[in-house]
């Protein structure tokens, strides 16, 4: 299987190189440099991706399979728990992406202004990006404990009756999303900071000569000129949000009930239960969801950049 896929990628260069008679000398940049990477990428990424389309139509136990047609997909969309997973994935991706863009931009504006301890604060915001997601995912349930947890106790001090967070079916998914934002906003912030810092000084100088307000400076200069950074953050956050698994698994395992299941956790649960075909169908659904949202969005966002 693997050789079939790889043959066109690696076989042809050898024949094209001598086909240019004008220069007999071999190119100093040989195509076989692609070969080792192409083999690993082909065998462990391309082959599984392609075969997932086929195996999602079967019932299989990794050695034998039985062709079922679209039964797995029918089962997937008839099971209410699985549809919840699909809906939750979308909610989760949109909420985390939106919050990361807005909060990340606010933090970046704060951390590019003349503020004391700027370097220290930048580091503090960024640090959670580097620590173990699982570690974060196991710590926050303790902090979010409805009665004994630090968060609700602090809220009680200022007179707010905190929600039951992960225990409450209405809040469970949102709570995980908030932790995701806490962990990931640092990456959005440093990307925005890099974008803002790269804007030429003259724009700001000219705008202050013209007497622009801080808001106008943000709206007319910073926002349009850091669009590539915004594109990157949106795309990265959406991909991450749609594919999320670690945090959900560590914090709720999809519970209470199935109220915080996302597609990635459904895939894992079906895999554990031995429904390999169904699990793979979930993978294909996720594939379609991610590529269906991210590719067009990416094209749309980068096209707008050219117009600018």
């Amino acid at each position: 299987m693997s050789t079939e896929v790889e043959a066109p990628t690696t076989g042809r260069p050898a024949t094209t190189a001598p086909a240019t008679p004008a220069r007999k000398r071999k190119s100093p940049y040989p195509y076989w440099f692609y070969l080792p990477a192409a083999v690993i990428f082909g065998v462990f990424f391309v082959v599984p991706t392609f075969s997932s389309f086929f195996f999602s139509l079967t019932r299989w136990d990794l050695t034998t399979y039985e062709f079922l047609g679209l039964d797995n997909y029918v089962a997937f969309f008839q099971e209410s728990a699985l549809i919840t997973g699909l809906k939750n994935t979308l909610i989760y991706a949109v909420v985390t992406c939106g919050l990361k863009v807005v909060l990340g931009m606010l933090l970046a504006l704060l951390l590019t202004s003349q503020i004391i301890a700027r370097g220290f604060l930048r580091s503090v915001v960024f640090f959670p990006v580097l620590v173990s997601t699982i570690g974060v995912g196991l710590t926050f349930p303790v902090l979010m404990d409805p009665s004994a947890g630090l968060i609700n106790k602090s809220l009680a001090l200022i007179g707010i009756n905190g929600p039951a967070w992960l225990v409450d079916p209405k809040f469970a998914l949102l709570s995980v999303a908030l932790v995701d934002v806490w962990k990931g906003v640092g990456l959005a912030t440093v990307i925005f900071i890099a974008g803002i810092v790269s804007i030429p000084r003259e724009y700001f100088e000219a705008s202050s000569v013209d007497g622009a307000s801080a808001f106008q400076r943000f709206w007319r200069i910073i926002l349009p000129l850091s669009r590539p950074a915004i594109t990157t953050v949106i795309v990265l956050a959406l991909i991450g949000g749609l594919r999320t698994f670690d945090l959900i698994w560590a914090m709720t395992r999809g519970g209470p009930g199935f109220t915080s299941d996302v597609i990635a956790s459904v895939i894992y649960k079906q895999y554990q239960a031995g429904f390999y075909g169904l699990s793979t169908a979930g993978n294909v659904v996720l594939f379609i969801l991610v590529t269906g949202i991210v590719f067009p969005l990416f094209h749309f966002l980068t096209r707008r950049e050219v117009d600018l």
Partner: protein
């Protein structure tokens, strides 16, 4: 006047930042230093008696020193995967950047796919099993390499574009073949971007949870991220040991962060500004 408001804003900012971002780490540290009964109360307070070292020892010794084995496994996984990743992705990035051909479109498309498409879990297990690599560390190494290639190629390509071609031509005139040209002339020049790639990827691979969970199940093969569940699955959670474990597995990224924070930020934002 202006500087005074800035000062107060700054102090307010610092206080808020500390509360939002650092309290969690203090909580982990305090709980990891408590006795089991005290930790079980889940309070944010200083431990009445510090038992941090004892808890570290207990966490390491749990389930026949699983955490130590996990640290060895994770280190091998991280070091070997990154070595392969660096060499292979630099080779690809180099040829893509230097040689214009119709393969460029293919490579670019595959890189984009590698960045966006979620890997298919069970078919990957199937491939690994057919190759006899399922539940082996080498299998997981191949997986980490395959999933990391796209990002590394992007970083290397952007950097190689800044190396003047004159250098290549001089080396070619001196009679260097493709191998010599790349490994003796170009590769050493990639040191700075290489450091970035190594740091970013080592954080990613060391913190990876999902791939070891899928492709390397079994206690004897555990990687560090899987050990945290040791203290949770029993009847009562041993919070002091759980947090001691979390603290231990946070130390490697913490060290990287303290010494190389700038590099990491550089790597992650590279290309983001230009789009």
């Amino acid at each position: 006047m202006r500087t005074k408001t800035h000062l107060w804003l700054g102090i307010l900012g610092i206080v808020l930042f500390v509360i939002v971002f650092l309290v969690r780490f203090a909580f982990i540290l305090f709980t990891a230093a408590k006795t089991q009964t005290e930790a079980g109360e889940l309070q944010f307070s200083l431990p009445t008696s510090w038992a941090l070292l004892q808890n570290f020892r207990d966490a390491l010794a749990a389930r026949d020193y699983m955490l130590i084995i996990a640290f060895i496994n994770s280190t091998i996984l991280t070091v070997v995967s990154i070595t392969i990743l660096v060499v292979l992705s630099a080779m690809v990035a180099y040829v893509v950047q230097r040689r214009q051909s119709r393969w460029n479109a293919v490579v670019n498309f595959l890189v984009l796919c590698g960045l966006i498409i979620p890997p298919a879990v069970v078919p990957t297990v199937w491939v690994l099993q057919s190759l006899g690599l399922f539940k082996t560390l080498s299998g997981l190494i191949f997986i980490e390499v395959a999933f990391g290639l796209a990002f590394c190629i992007l970083l290397f390509r952007a950097f190689i574009a800044t190396i003047p071609r004159d250098l290549d031509e001089a080396a070619i005139i001196d009679g260097a073949g493709p191998m010599r040209l790349f490994f003796k002339v170009i590769f050493p020049l990639l040191r700075s971007v290489m450091v970035t790639v190594i740091i970013v990827q080592s954080v990613v691979i060391f913190n990876d949870f999902a791939n070891p969970l899928y492709f390397l199940p079994g206690d004897e093969n555990a990687t560090v991220q899987l050990t945290v569940f040791n203290f949770q699955s029993q009847f009562t959670t041993q919070y002091n040991l759980l947090f001691a474990d979390i603290l231990l597995i946070t130390i490697p990224p913490l060290l990287l962060f303290l010494f190389l924070n700038k590099r990491i930020v550089e790597g992650l934002t590279a290309g983001a500004v230009k789009g």
